[in-house]
Amino acid sequence: MAAEVNEINLGRTFTAGIWEQNPVFRLLLGMCPTLAVTAAVKPALTMSLCVTFVLLCSNISVSLMRNLLKPHLRILMFTLMIATFVTIADLFLKAYAPDMSRALGPYVALIIVNCIIIGRAEACASKNNLIVSITDALGMSVGFTFALCVLSSVRELLGAGTIFGYPVLSNGWFTPWLSISLPGGAFLTLGLLLGLINVITKRNK
């Protein structure tokens, strides 16, 4: 019986991150990378991968030491660990994907202040066991990746007429809508997508 309850919780924890509590579309967290790196799909996917790595590592380590954490020092501990994992991810990108590292610029280092990661450490990993924390990190990461992919596909398609760098809309009749690739276009696309998600959620209620 206990195992069954646990199983249901795990499934819910995982799917919550993808839709009900999608970090970007529902909780509006991690807006900095969401707006900054979604001009094309490739950098958006790389950013999602980095966030997944950091979120997973941070949730695992916070969950493992949750009983040792002193309440007034916990934020310091979270930041220390998150900063370490982000720096590792940044070094790996520089060594194995230098083009992507250049394209993402300072935004990889800025994962340190991404609210999704510290938020999950505080709300989930510091209170739950390892399995729940890992499931939560995976769910949130899939949700974040999904949001970034949707946003970057729309922006790359309209802003450059390409997807993954391959021309899709460039056979003469389509003029790339450059402003969608610019920061203003990020706000516009995100706003419209949020509106759409709100409509879908209301209808489903």
Partner: protein
């Protein structure tokens, strides 16, 4: 005595974690640093080679030079007949959003530019990022190494050191021209001091 005990009780986890994280970072850095450096040097060589295709090898003639306040190595390009083709270095300046780093090449007596290539930039896509376009870069090839002048419209006259700006990206165009104007004079002086040009 009690306060020390209290301090250790409260902070032992943080101190241990700080040491462990530091160790982890040091190990990762030690493992990846050579690879990262190789990539950066390789990229610099590729750009120099594209600016001086006849070059057979590049020799670091002035390591860690300071040109216009920016540290860079100065390389000498040598062809198969051991003739000096020119010199190359990295020029740095500020663009619209971030630093711009250019690999710049001049000919053997530093009288003409051989062009530039972008080593690092973070300019606005579709506007400042067009500084990598061929027509813009070609304007610098064979231009005299005097002070360059940026013009915003019309036909640029290379003999008069004129460079036509990228439309909609005046800040980036000015930054590129300023990098040349700030560095080339200082480079010539440095090369003369070291006896590499007359």
């Amino acid at each position: 005595m009690r306060s020390i005990k209290h301090f250790i009780e409260q902070s032992w986890l943080l101190i241990t974690a700080a040491f462990l994280c530091g160790l982890l970072l040091a190990l990762t850095n030690a493992a990846l640093e050579p690879r990262i450096q190789r990539i950066e040097i390789g990229e610099m060589y590729d750009k120099m080679k594209s600016l001086m295709p006849q070059a057979d090898k590049f020799e670091k003639v002035i390591p860690q030079a300071e040109i216009a306040g920016n540290p860079t190595d100065v390389y000498e390009a040598i062809d198969k007949n051991k003739q000096v083709l020119g010199f190359s270095f990295v020029g740095t300046g500020y663009g619209f959003a971030d630093q711009i780093k250019l690999v710049i090449a001049v000919n053997a007596d530093a009288s003409k530019l051989l062009g530039f290539d972008v080593l690092y930039s973070n300019e606005t896509p579709g506007f400042g990022s067009r500084m990598t376009e061929n027509w813009f870069r070609q304007q610098f090839v064979d231009a005299p190494t005097g002070t360059l002048e940026l013009i915003k419209s019309g036909q640029a006259d290379k003999e008069k050191d004129q460079i036509l700006a990228l439309s909609g990206a005046t800040v980036t165009s000015t930054a590129v021209v300023n990098i040349f104007n700030n560095h080339i004079g200082a480079l010539k002086k440095l090369l003369k001091e070291k006896g590499l040009i007359q």
